[in-house]
Point group: C2
Chain length 186, copies 2
């Protein structure tokens, strides 16, 4: 397997592992084991653990961005917001993306790595701007749309089942995401 292909599979593994146990809670060995490769070899493919995490973060944002772009295709106005919500519900059936996203927020908040913090901030705001521009939405509309998204993140993180009373008032698509998560091979 070429180094580039290997790097790709390492990133996928990193998304899963970092998503589950966070930056500090994830050992490079756990990632290597998931890839099926020796731990020291990771350091041939990436300069260090931080770089690994950043690559995983990048992948996470790319996936969300692609989903949002796809949602807005051919639509405009409020329809974009609705479509974004539905696409997001589908996206987070892949539990790994959601978990890593939450990890990114706490990493950004910690401020341990200012460069990484800035990166996460910038990419998140880019998502916001993307939806806002495509939908031509007001601040209140954006808050409503993204507020629901963040609430869903929380409900799923907490592991509340789809028929739990806290899910009342949410899109049915989102409940599906809670009820039938797609567990990826990684």
């Amino acid at each position: 397997m070429s180094a580039q292909e290997r790097r790709e599979s390492v990133i996928r593994a990193a998304v899963v592992e970092f998503g589950r146990t966070g930056y500090h809670g994830t050992s490079t060995e756990a990632i290597a084991r998931r890839v099926g490769v020796s731990q020291p070899y990771l350091f041939r493919l990436f300069p260090g653990k931080q770089a690994l995490f950043r690559a995983a973060a990048e992948r996470c944002f790319e996936r969300i961005e692609a989903a949002f772009e796809r949602a807005a295709e051919g639509l405009e106005g409020e329809a974009v917001l609705d479509a974004t919500g539905k696409v997001y519900a589908e996206l987070i059936r892949d539990r790994d993306v959601l978990l890593l996203q939450m990890q990114l927020y706490v990493v950004a908040a910690s401020g341990e790595d200012p460069e990484l913090t800035a990166f996460i901030q910038q990419r998140w705001v880019a998502l916001w701007d993307l939806v806002r521009a495509r939908a031509g939405a007001t601040g209140a509309q954006m808050a409503h749309c993204f507020g629901h998204g963040m609430l869903i993140n929380t409900l799923v993180s907490l592991g509340l089942p789809a028929d739990h009373r806290c899910w009342d008032g949410q899109l049915d698509e989102c409940k599906v995401a809670a009820a039938e998560p797609v567990v990826r091979a990684g």
Copy 2:
């Protein structure tokens, strides 16, 4: 100082440290240093690191719960939801509570400690039920209210300044929370 007082100050330090760097990223030594006590002494006051984290989590929920109770006092219906939002904005000016809250979500999501996961889930749902009962709110109203709360958590975690465009459409009180955080001595 009595052991009980010491335990209290340890909990306060744990809230700060765990909030900033998470469960795995926080060493017991960091907590001890903040308290101004030797690291092994923590294990006289608490059986282990997990117990320390749980105590911090408990404190976090107690603070939020108390704030929500206070908000609902003497009000009913939608007024409760408004008051809850305002009180929450004030609450999270204490950055430590917010950061630890985010950490609790990822810890719950990781499922590493099923007992702790169940605890966090239960306490979070209790908050939900508290507000819902006091406000007599519908599912959609609850989603709106808590959705905004979770969005605020995210915006603050990301460190977006109060005048950032992503804050458009939020309560002014929340912007104050972003602009003038109360940094507690811990």
